[in-house]
Structures are given as C-alpha cells and as structure tokens.
C-alpha cells in the first residue's frame, strides 16, 4: 500500500512595529497590532476558513478515510483568539471530526533548539498544554520549526514522550535511499517520516507556475504520479508519500483563482480510485510499518527552506547571529531575574520569522523572503528588532 500523509503548517508571526530608538521606554508596545490583525483577517478569509470548510467536506464525504494532520503554533492561536475567533472555532470543529491529527512543536515557532535547549523544552511543553486546553488533544508526533532536524533533537524529543518525528527528505542525507520508507532516528527512539519534497512543492510552489512542464496540475495527474511511486517497491512494504506544506498554500500562496481548492476537492476521489493508495496520519506509521525501519543519521541541521535546505534562511549573516544571540542572552537574564511579566514578549521575539526577514541571500530565495517581509529591507528588519530588544532590556533593568 501507498499512504498519503498530508501535514499542513498553520502559523503567523507577530510582526514588529517600525520600532524606533526613540520609542524605547515609551510603553507603546513593540508589535504592529493593526498589521497583524489585518493579516489574520485576510488570510482567515482567503485561506483558513474556506480551506477548513473544504477539509470538513472531504472528511464527511469519505467517512473517515480522508485523513490529514496540522501543526498549529501557539502564536497563531493567540492571534485567532484576538483577531478572528471564528477561525479557531473552525479548527476545533475539524478536530472534533476525529479525522485530524495535531502535531507537537514549539509554542512560539522558534529556533530555540540549538540555542537554548531548556527553553526549547519549555516551549514544547507550553504547546502541548495548549493543544490539550484548546482541542483536548495530546500530540504523539513532533515536527520542529521549519522542519529543522538533526540528531541531537531526537534525544530531547523522545525524552518528551513523542513517538514520531517529521523531517525534510533531502538527498544530502538520504543519498540513495528513498523518502518513501519510514526510518528511525539515529538513536532508534523515534519513527521518522521524511517529506517527499518534489511532490509537496509541486502543490505548494509550482501549482500555478505556467512555465513548469507539469502545468496545469490536475488531481488525475497527481494521483497518477503518486500511483507510479509504488513501482519502487517490489515486495509488500508499506510506503509513505509525505506531503508537507504551509496551509496558506490554499488560497493565499496559491490564490483561489488558480484552482487549488478544486484540485484538493477532487484529489481524494482520484486517489481512492487507484485502489492501492490510502490516506494516513503521521502517527499511523507506528502501526502501518511492516518492516524493520533503518535508522538514519542527520549529523548537521536540515530544514525545508530555500534551495539549501539548511539553516541559512535564519542564521547566515551577522545581522541574524547578533540578533539571535542578543535575544537568548536576554531570555536567560529575564528568567534569572524572575521577570515573568517580560517572558512572553521576549519569547514572541524568538519566532523564526523575525530572523527570516533579516536574510540577505540573493537569487531566487531572496524573492521569497521579500514576499513575506513587512519591512523594506533586511537592514530595517534588523534595526527595528534590535530596538525592540533594547526596549525589553530597559524594562528588565
């Protein structure tokens, strides 16, 4: 059997105001409430609400056979509560169907792993509590921010009780191996599913690209491609086609007019018509794997971002390094001094997007960064970010 594993990332950062040096100590707040509200409302209308309606429709139509997974960050849920409660309700509604799996991650969508592992664990636990409080759900599957993974992460995550972890299926690590099989982490404590990035990105990035040979992508065509993947397996081992992407793919990165919703609406029926393909949650892999998975080592960090699939989108230039080092110093100091009133604000500054805006890589990835950034340049993003940190550190005293 081939199992299609859909996981969608739901996240929006708290973007900073154009925070001037002269605003330090002004108590004006460092986040751009108007912008953040506008983004949540816009993406809510274009993506979250219609996409949730569609998923609900598919779940009901196929009576439990259509399965999907979400990873929803703490910072986006807070914003739903403040700016668009209906969106949170609609996610709860989806989870109540029993056909949705929720994944664990850091509450703040941060890069804490590797910078402050204690902080990382705290943020993971905060997120787990949030999932329980909001959805009555306790995740078994973990995915780190931006799918960042390396061996050391497996030790921490397995200690936290997770059973499965997701990562990028890059050739840098896989070499001759196929991402269609389940693996285990280097310490053999977690089952590992690897993103099938070509097919994932066919939907997420190339769907509306008219210069792409695969254009136009239809549900028929896509189901065929998935079906053909079964040819690699001569025996009876179960395969996993792991399609991981931003949820905003539906209606926001790919506009409604591209036909992305119709594509998704028809995909399950085409998949089911093949006979040997089914949908699965990431946690299903624990039961489905009918072979002894090979363990695989990620000696260095791998992510799902940019062409490099490494950390360079967030940690490459001096702006990013100086910013993140200053942040984690400040976080530690806040904890030492027991200033819990400042902790949440500092943690919101740990969201990876802040560092993404400071990226100065050029070529095609630069364009993607620019598309997502609310600032006129990486330098401006850095300037406002550092001023905001200074504001926090002044409050800390």
């Amino acid at each position: 059997m081939i199992h299609v594993v859909f996981y969608f990332q739901v996240h929006q950062p708290l973007r900073l105001r154009h925070f001037s040096v002269l605003d330090v100590g002004s108590n004006r707040g460092i986040f751009d409430e108007n912008l953040n509200r506008a983004v949540i409302r816009k993406v809510g209308d274009k993506c979250y609400l219609p996409a949730n309606r569609l998923m609900k429709e598919l779940i009901e139509r196929y009576e439990g056979r259509f399965k999907i997974a979400y990873s929803i960050t703490g910072v986006v849920i807070e914003q739903f509560k403040n700016y668009y409660p209906e969106v949170l309700e609609s996610f709860k509604d989806l989870v109540r169907t029993g056909c949705v799996e929720l994944l664990g991650e850091t509450y703040y969508h941060s890069l804490a792993f590797g910078h402050d592992n204690e902080e990382f664990v705290e943020q993971v636990r905060m997120h787990r509590k949030l999932m329980y409080d909001e959805f009555g759900y306790t995740p078994l599957v973990f995915r780190n921010t931006e799918l960042i993974y390396q061996d050391r992460l497996a030790d921490i995550v397995s200690d936290e009780g997770f059973k499965v972890i997701l990562a990028e299926g890059t050739e840098k690590i896989l070499d001759w191996r196929s991402p269609l099989y389940a693996y285990t982490t280097y310490n053999r404590k977690l089952l590992m599913l690897l993103k099938y990035y070509t097919l994932s990105d066919d939907i997420a990035f190339r769907f509306s690209d008219r210069s792409w040979p695969g254009f136009p992508l239809t549900a028929d065509k896509f189901a065929d491609w998935i079906g053909n993947l079964g040819l690699v397996e001569k025996g009876t081992r179960n395969l996993f086609v792991n399609l991981f992407m931003d949820y905003e793919t539906f209606g926001e990165h790919q506009w409604k007019e591209t036909g992305i919703f119709d594509f998704m609406r028809h995909l399950p029926e085409k998949i089911f018509s093949k006979g040997n393909i089914a949908f699965a949650w990431p946690s299903d892999a624990l039961d489905i794997v009918n072979y002894q998975p090979e363990s695989i080592s990620f000696p260095y960090p791998v992510s799902w971002a940019d062409t490099e699939r490494d950390l360079s989108a967030w940690l490459d230039n001096d702006l990013q390094y100086n910013a993140i080092e200053t942040l984690y110093d400040l976080l530690r100091e806040i904890k030492q001094k027991g200033r819990h009133d400042l902790l949440d604000c500092a943690r919101k500054l740990s969201t990876s997007d802040h560092f993404y805006y400071m990226c100065t890589k050029y070529f095609q990835d630069g364009d993607v960064h620019k598309y997502f950034s609310p600032y006129q340049s990486p330098e401006h993003a850095y300037m406002f970010y550092m001023n905001a940190l200074a504001d926090l550190s002044e409050q800390l005293g």
Binding site: S20, V21, L22, G25, D318, N322, T326, S377, M383, S393
Partner: protein, 432 residues
C-alpha cells in the same frame, strides 16, 4: 540693502546643515534691516520676500508676472499648504553618487571672457543639461534666476554652494551685480577626497568669479585656497551659529538607564560613521554599561549595520535611520556624549546644538566648529584610541561629565546668528 539670495534648501524642507545655516542667516539679516529676496528650487516661478525676522518662518511667497499677489493671506499656519502649491521637494538631494557618468559636462561652463548673455544661456543648456536630475535642475534654476532677476530690484546676489553657483554667475553677468559666493561644503569634503570632476569645476568657477567668497570656517578658507587657488584677499570667514531650541533647557529626558553616546548625521564617508563604530566597539569592551546610537541614513547605513552586527555589539549599538527635526531634538535631549568624527567638516552645526542640550561633545579637529568652541574635546578623526579614552573617562566620572556639559551649555548660549549677520552686512557694504 537688498540681497537676492539663492539657495537649494531652506526649512521646513531641509536635508542638512545648509538649510539650517541659510535660515539662521536670513532671519538675522532681516533683524538688522537687510532685505532678502530668496529664490529656492521651486516648481512655480516664485521668490520669497523676507523683510522682517518672522518672515523667515512665514516665507511670504511672491509670484513673478501675471500671478503677482496670488496668495492674499500668508501665515505660518498655511505655509505647508502654500509650499505645496508652488511645489517644493520635501527632501532635496544635496549630493550625487559618484558612480554616475556623463561625458565631459561643464567643459568650463563659463569660459574666461565672461560671457555674452546668449552664450551663457547656450552654455548652461549645453553643459548642465545632462540626464541627471540634479545637474538639470541646477541649470534650470540658473536660467530661471536670470529671468527673474530682471523683474526684481536688488543690490547684489548671494548664492550658497555649487548647486546655486551657475545661477549666481548668470545673474551677475546678466544684471551686472556683485556676486557673493558662500561655501558651506566643498566637493572635497563630501567625497572625502577628489570627487565628481564636474562639481569641482562648478565650484572653482563660482568661487573664482565671485566678488567675495564667504567661507564658513578658516578650515574651509584654507581648503579653497589650497585646492582651488582662490585669491585669499577676497575670502571672508563667517562662522556658522545655531538657533537655540526652546526645548534645549531643563533636565535630560533619558531613553536608557545607561549613558547615551550619539552619532548624528548622514551616514556617509564624510561624517566618519566607521570611526564611530570602531570607537563604540572598543568602549563597549572596556565599559559595557553604555548605549551607542547611530542616527541618520546614508549610503553607508547598511554597511555600518552589518559591521556592528559582525562585532557582536548586541543591543549596545542601535540605529535610528533618518530623523526629522522633532526627533533630532528628542534624541539630543537624551544624549550624554556627542561624537562628531567627521573626516572633513567645513563647519558642523550639530555639536553646538548638542552642547545646548547639555551633551559633552567630542569633535573632529578637521572641522570648522572646533574653531569656535572651547568646552569640547577636539580630536583628530582618525585618533580612535584617544576618543575611546575620553569616552571611558567621561563614563567613569559622571560628575566631570556634568561639569563639562554645563560649561559647554553656557558657552554656546552666547553663540547666535547676529554676529554672522553683522559680518555679512559688512561684506555687502564693501561691495555696494
């Protein structure tokens, strides 16, 4: 005495010190009875009639020709609205990037035998009519000033820096009036070495054919004597001053608990931001409880930001980007130590303001302002060690800092534009 004055920037729309200096001078001239008709690079053909000191703030607008008397009510309150009607650029460019390249422009625009009017017009059109908006606009201003000067009565013409020199020469030659060329900054200062050859030529010709040259400092007078071989006997030094802000008195309004060390100016080679950065790095390693702020924007902004990050100065060195007038005063009010490490600063008004706001100042010896103040530290811009020692010493001794700041504040309160206006008036009287 009535002066036709042509300048490139004037408050409320200014890019830098030139506008502030012109404002101070015009206002003070009006207060001693010198009348000024002011021409700015406006879209409409207008001039500003300054008869009383308050007119420098109201800027009464006079149209040339049919629309004379167009504005019936002219107040400070409707100034912005009126300026919009006549078209004034919010941020006039005062320098151009040197990478731009136009063929042999200004092959001596005004060649030796000055110049029949017809040839003048041709020369201006031909040599200044390049693609670059700045040169084009300088030439438009020259043609316009020549036209307008025929409809205005005045005793002499006074121009400020190279962008208005062609206009001054055009008026001098067509109306046979004496020309005063004011030099606030040379291309050598702006470029930190040889700059744009076309600008050098315009500067040279303007200064050479002026009847009197006003230099803002001895430093600048020496510069134009050494570099352009201008006849010293026609140069007069008139130091700049500053206008005391009503906001300058009283207690400091701190932004940070730790002392603030400020750089304020265009972030460009001339102003020495890289020296400031080096100083900041070394001070922070010796005395971490301090904040540095680099305020301003410019072509080196991005490089400075990256360099500060590369040194891992954390949030001890912050950036503000461009600040408007109100913001400038707010940050000066919060500043304890002001550093002006300019590589070459013809005058430098901001240290005077910083002193009035109660900051201790460390100023480059390569500056005009160092000729006029005593209670400031004067250091070669390149002497980073010395600057660092001074700052660390000041940070370690707050009492000493306060004493010097207080002495400095008293000193600069005595400085005003009136003295400059009196000197200028003498120059005018020599000529008329």
């Amino acid at each position: 005495m009535r002066v036709l004055m042509i300048t490139w920037e004037f408050p409320p729309y200014i890019a830098g010190g030139l506008g502030m200096a012109c404002y101070g001078l015009v206002k003070a001239l009006a207060s001693i009875g010198v009348e000024v008709d002011l021409i700015l690079p406006t879209v409409e053909e207008v001039y500003f009639k300054i008869r009383r000191p308050e007119d420098a703030d109201i800027l009464p607008i006079e149209f040339i020709g049919e629309r004379k008397g167009y504005f019936t009510v002219q107040t400070r309150e409707n100034l912005i609205e009126r300026l919009r009607v006549i078209g004034v650029l919010e941020r006039p460019e005062t320098y151009i990037p040197h990478s731009l390249n136009i063929d042999e422009l200004v092959e001596v625009i005004f060649s030796q035998e000055i110049l029949t009017e017809k040839r003048l017009v041709e020369a201006i059109k031909r040599y200044l009519g390049g693609e670059e908006s700045l040169f084009k606009r300088a030439s438009e201003l020259a043609l316009r000033a020549m036209r307008m000067s025929k409809l205005i009565e005045f005793d002499l013409v006074h121009v400020h820096d190279w962008l208005t020199y062609p206009a001054g020469l055009a008026v001098k030659s067509s109306r046979k009036k004496k020309l005063v060329a004011h030099i606030h900054a040379t291309e050598f200062d702006r470029a930190g070495g040889p700059g744009d050859d076309r600008i050098h030529k315009i500067e040279y010709i303007g200064l050479e054919y002026a009847d009197r040259v006003i230099a803002v400092s001895n430093y600048t007078a020496r510069m134009i004597i050494d570099r352009y071989r201008i006849d010293p006997s026609k140069i007069r030094v008139v130091h700049n001053a500053y206008s005391v802000s009503p906001y300058a008195g009283g207690e400091k309004r701190r932004l940070f608990k730790d002392p603030l060390v400020l750089f304020l100016g265009r972030v460009t080679l001339q102003k020495g931001p890289d020296y400031f950065l080096e100083v900041a790095g070394r001070v922070i390693s010796r005395y971490p409880n301090v904040r540095f702020v680099m305020a301003g924007s410019g072509d080196m902004f991005s490089r400075m930001l990256r360099s500060a990050a590369a040194r891992r100065l954390k949030d001890r060195l912050l950036f503000s980007g461009f600040l408007n007038r109100d913001e400038v005063e707010r940050i000066l009010k919060a500043t304890d130590i002001f550093v002006m490490p300019s590589v070459s600063e013809p005058f430098g008004i901001v240290p005077l303001e910083a002193m009035a706001f109660g900051a201790v100042t460390i100023i480059s010896k390569q500056s005009g302002v160092s000729e006029v103040v005593k209670n400031a530290f004067k250091v070669d811009f390149w002497d980073i060690d010395k600057t660092v020692d001074i700052i660390v010493d000041l940070l370690s001794h707050p009492e000493k800092r306060r004493e010097i700041a207080e002495a400095g504040r008293h000193e600069v309160l005595e400085i005003g534009w009136n003295e400059a206006a009196l000197k200028l008036n003498e120059v005018y009287r020599e000529l008329v």
